[in-house]
């Protein structure tokens, strides 16, 4: 046995690893396990799973490839990483669909045992790519027959060959643990916990995991180990969250912070379903969930609950948002609080359900018939989905309005460490119901407004305040049906002004980097990490650039016009065909942003964006 001391340990700033294999190969599982171990080691990190819309495409097929990417580092990690430094490919199809992403000179670990004639054929390879000399020239290829080694490790275990085959992901994980110096014991515990009900599988997976680890240590395929130092994170208690998970936690937090019921009426849709699923467990926290018969009924039930005094939510993705459009208009005209969380995916129509996009911005801002403005806020990272949900709800009840919260598949599925807020760190949410008449003659006028133009919220069960609301235009005071044209004009303007008044709660746009200069990068939503990363690079090269990230899309921060005008050029990077750029042109005549658009279902690459900025800067 050779010893580990003979091989060097190299310190690296950060590393991006991608696991790819069949949908059933357990790639998501080993990816999250390595993520947890890295988090425990103090790394900052970001992850992104990449899986097909089909639950189980045929084994070995190109369509069935599922992946999980994790980027961990000893400094701030902004994104799940542009290009993997290490690609772990469990079969030919996985290699074929992912090899182009591996950075030149990167490490390619392949399960050579899966490169059989039939698998090669399924992946449309004419010959075995592992025999290709060019491959070894471009990458550091580590070819390991994980099938065989897993079988050998489990000889005599009594498991069926199918069960044995399903253990091989732990062999890959074992190798990665050795390569990045992660503690074995913690993983062994984790496996035992995970398979507590099936001790024979727990034992088998531990055996295979340890075999993978030992293989890394003893075989001469790896030239050394890597060490990623701990990052400087704000002290505190941490957990890992996905964006969807964080949004669900946000809903529960709102219930707790307001002391009111949160009601989530929703319908399953990729990539938003997990919010409803997670929230369904939060009954003890004051969250009531209702899976309706369709998207329309999902938001309808929420508006019904809002009329009843609950803080109401609905969650969806693009096609569902389209279906909910008429309902959202009803919430606008009745002025009932509601939060719509739209986890954007590739569109139009069914589009690319599991792939990310930012192409619902203009629909969120304008996608209702009639004059129906509403506040729009976007989360910028997985953990930020928590805070954005709270801010959206706070705004909805404070201003008696529906609020549209945008996230996307990238941050919804992506994960990162999340510092658990201390007790008292989150401000309570004030909700006041009207309990007394508010007008002459001891009457209640449901549309009598305060100075901010906000109407009162009287809920069923309150004696003496019985009133009716509905979709017909209403008298500006009594709320009764009114077909008076002048009253309608007044109501349209009043509703718009009320939403515009929210600007008082919108923080000024903050510029990172130079406050004025040659180029301002303007981002919104899930691209923040990529633009942060690109800005860091540009600043490091001494460029006069700044970055402003927009959390509020409506109303926009009041200083934004001045910020935009402080730079010679403005560049708007987006995962769409230029929607924020279009909006800014309309809002700030004279500012004509340059665009950087990718619509490939993936997050923006820091390297591509930096290159674009450098090209503009000349």
């Amino acid at each position: 046995m050779s010893t580990q001391t003979t091989r060097p340990v190299e310190q690296v700033d950060s590393v991006t690893i991608r696991f790819v294999g069949d949908s059933g190969d357990g790639m998501q599982l080993v990816g999250t396990e390595l993520t947890k171990a890295s988090a425990q080691a103090g790394n900052d990190l970001a992850t992104f799973p990449d899986f097909p819309a089909e639950i189980r495409a045929p084994a070995g097929s190109l369509a069935g490839v599922s992946g999980y990417q994790v980027h961990f580092g000893g400094r701030a990690v902004h994104t799940p990483g542009d290009a993997p430094d290490v690609l772990v490919a469990m079969n030919p199809a996985a290699l074929k669909t992912n090899l182009a992403d591996l950075r030149p000179g990167g490490m390619l670990i392949v399960n050579s045992g899966a490169f059989t004639e039939s698998n090669l054929e399924k992946a449309a390879y004419k010959s075995n790519p592992l025999d290709d000399a060019a491959l070894k020239k471009s990458y550091r290829v580590v070819s390991v027959d994980m099938n065989k080694l897993t079988e050998t490790a489990l000889t005599g275990s009594g498991l069926s060959s199918k069960e044995v085959a399903r253990c091989k992901n732990y062999f890959a994980l074992g190798m990665m643990y050795w390569l990045y110096g992660r503690p074995v014991d913690m993983q062994v515990e984790s496996i035992q916990k995970k398979f507590a009900k099936k001790p024979e599988l727990a034992k088998a997976n531990v055996t295979v995991f340890k075999a993978g680890h030992a293989f890394g240590e003893t075989c001469e395929l790896f030239t050394g180990q890597y060490m990623v130092p701990a990052a400087k994170l704000k002290p505190g208690l941490y957990r890992n969250v996905t964006g969807n998970g964080a949004a669900a936690l946000g809903i529960a937090a709102v219930a707790k912070l307001s002391g009111k019921q949160c009601f989530l009426g929703s319908y399953p849709i990729t990539p938003a379903t997990e919010i409803l699923q997670d929230a369904s467990y939060f009954k003890d926290m004051g969250v009531v969930t209702y899976q309706a018969e369709d998207e329309i009924a999902g938001v309808g039930s929420a508006i019904g609950a809002s009329f009843g005094g609950a803080i109401a939510w609905t969650t969806t993705s693009g096609p569902g948002l389209a279906l909910k459009s008429e309902m959202i208009g009803l919430a606008v005209i009745t002025e009932l609080p509601l939060v719509i969380i739209n986890v954007q995916r590739g569109g139009p129509s069914t589009g690319m359900p599991t792939k990310t996009e930012q192409a619902d911005l203009l629909f969120a801002l304008f996608g209702r018939h009639g004059e129906a403005p509403l506040p729009v806020i976007a989360a910028d990272s997985p953990g930020d989905c928590f805070y954005t949900a709270i801010e959206a709800a706070r705004t909805a009840v404070k201003y008696m309005t529906p609020v549209l919260m945008l996230t996307d598949g990238f941050i919804g599925f992506g994960s990162e460490p999340f510092r658990v807020p201390e007790d008292g760190e989150l401000k309570p949410i004030e909700v006041t119901y009207q309990t007394k008449p508010n007008h002459d003659g001891n009457t209640y006028m449901p549309y009598k407004r305060d100075a901010k133009l906000v109407r009162p919220w009287a809920v069923p069960g309150t004696p003496g305040l019985e009133h009716r609301v509905g979709g017909l235009e209403k008298d500006s005071l009594s709320g009764m049906v009114s077909y008076d044209g002048m009253n309608h004009e007044k109501m349209v303007k009043t509703r718009a002004q009320k939403v515009a008044n929210i600007v008082a709660d919108v923080p000024d746009a903050e510029v990172t980097g130079n406050q004025t200069g040659d180029l301002l990068l303007v981002s919104w939503g899930g691209t923040k990490g990529s633009v942060d990363g690109a800005t860091e690079r540009l600043l490091a090269e001494g460029k006069k650039v700044g970055h402003v990230h927009l959390r509020w899309l409506n109303p926009l921060p009041k200083n934004l016009g001045a910020v935009l005008k402080g730079f010679k050029k403005v560049l708007v990077p987006e995962v769409n065909d230029g929607q924020l750029a279009f909006y800014l042109r309309a809002k700030f005549p004279g500012v004509d942003p340059l665009q950087f658009n990718r619509i490939n279902g993936k997050a923006l690459k820091i390297s591509e964006l930096s290159a674009k900025a450098l090209e503009i800067l000349g």
Partner: protein
């Protein structure tokens, strides 16, 4: 927001909003709202705890005229609002006012799901077999061959049988009444108010402008006795002049048939005794389908009235159990979950 222990003594007037109804003169809706306002003082629920929710159509203006909490929502979608409100606030009594177009065309999906969930909401469907608010187009309950503005050569599609649909969807209370039969409607609505679970009441409602006389086939004095079958719990299903005709279950053909007392030795003992409390909705379904058969009377009254745990109730059992099991968890502890690490 709690129900007061001692309810005020209400009169009909307490349930009138003071807004004059804007229905056409002679519309059946007037008679219906009159019955509802007469009923509510006796249902034992505080005025502020009763909510009327409607969709879109002539009938759906109803909430504006009631002095309760009310919501005039979107076309066909009223069941979604009512369901959300009921799940959120189970202590409220929720009524849903809808029409044949609202409930069965654009809102068919929401309607059947509200019924199958046994959501404790009371649906009153005013069936005038026509689109009134849009001035006379064919509806999902218009008869085959009916000439309307959009079917000038006669409707080519078959209508829904609404009580049969409600039964098929799993409604636990299904009934029918007629706008001009005030006393009958009052009794049916009282039973609807007392029922807990998905409640469906179809009311034959005459539209004097666009479908006048739609129900004369069973309301005209000359034919009424033979054309109406009044179903009464525990009583044999008799109809006709002097109640000489009855409905018998034929065990050979497994069909309902009309028999005449005293003919071929038929006595009252042969006639089916009405029992809306059967768990199995099969006989109720057969009765609902009678009206579609030539030579048979149209049943009015309660087809089905059974008790089952309601959707809102089952939800709150789970919520209360979860609260009891977990107690008052601090937000920080909740947010931390089970898998954490500390950064110093």
């Amino acid at each position: 927001m709690s129900t007061t222990t001692a309810l005020p003594t209400y009169t009909k007037k307490d349930f009138e909003s003071g807004v004059d109804p804007r229905w056409c003169p002679g519309c059946g809706d007037f008679s219906i709202i009159n019955q509802v306002q007469k009923l509510l003082p006796s249902v034992g629920v505080a005025r502020e705890n009763i909510v009327f929710i409607s969709g879109i159509g002539c009938s759906s203006r109803f909430p504006y005229y009631m002095n309760n909490y009310g919501m005039h929502t979107l076309h066909g979608r009223a069941p979604s609002f009512a369901s959300g409100l009921k799940v959120s606030r189970p202590e409220l009594q929720v009524w849903l006012i809808t029409g044949d177009g609202d409930a069965l065309a654009i809102g068919g999906n929401h309607f059947i799901h509200a019924m199958r969930r046994n959501m404790d909401i009371k649906v009153m469907m005013f069936n005038n077999r026509i689109y009134g608010l849009t001035k006379g187009q064919v509806s999902p309950t218009s008869e085959l061959g009916k000439k309307t503005k959009t079917t000038p050569f006669g409707s080519a599609d078959y209508p829904f049988n609404p009580p049969a649909l409600a039964l098929g969807a799993g409604a636990t209370f299904v009934a029918r009444s007629v706008d001009i039969e005030g006393a009958h409607m009052g009794e049916v609505l009282k039973a609807a108010a007392d029922h807990r679970g998905s409640t469906y009441v179809e009311i034959f409602q005459n539209c004097p402008v666009f479908n006048d006389g739609a129900y004369t086939f069973m309301t005209d004095k000359a034919v009424k006795a033979d054309a109406q079958l009044r179903m009464v719990d525990g009583k044999p299903l008799l109809f006709g002049k002097d109640l000489k005709k009855g409905i018998r279950f034929n065990p050979q053909s497994a069909e309902l048939e009309v028999v005449t007392l005293g003919v071929n030795g038929v006595t009252e003992k042969d006639v089916l005794v009405h029992n809306p409390r059967r768990e199995d909705p099969t006989i109720a379904f057969m009765l609902a389908n009678l009206s579609a058969k030539p030579g048979f009377p149209t049943p009015i009254g309660i087809f089905r009235n059974v008790e089952q745990p309601t959707c809102d109730e089952l939800n709150w059992q789970q919520i209360n159990a979860a609260k009891q099991k977990k107690g008052d968890v601090s937000l920080r502890k909740f947010l931390a979950g089970s898998d954490t690490w500390t950064v110093k």
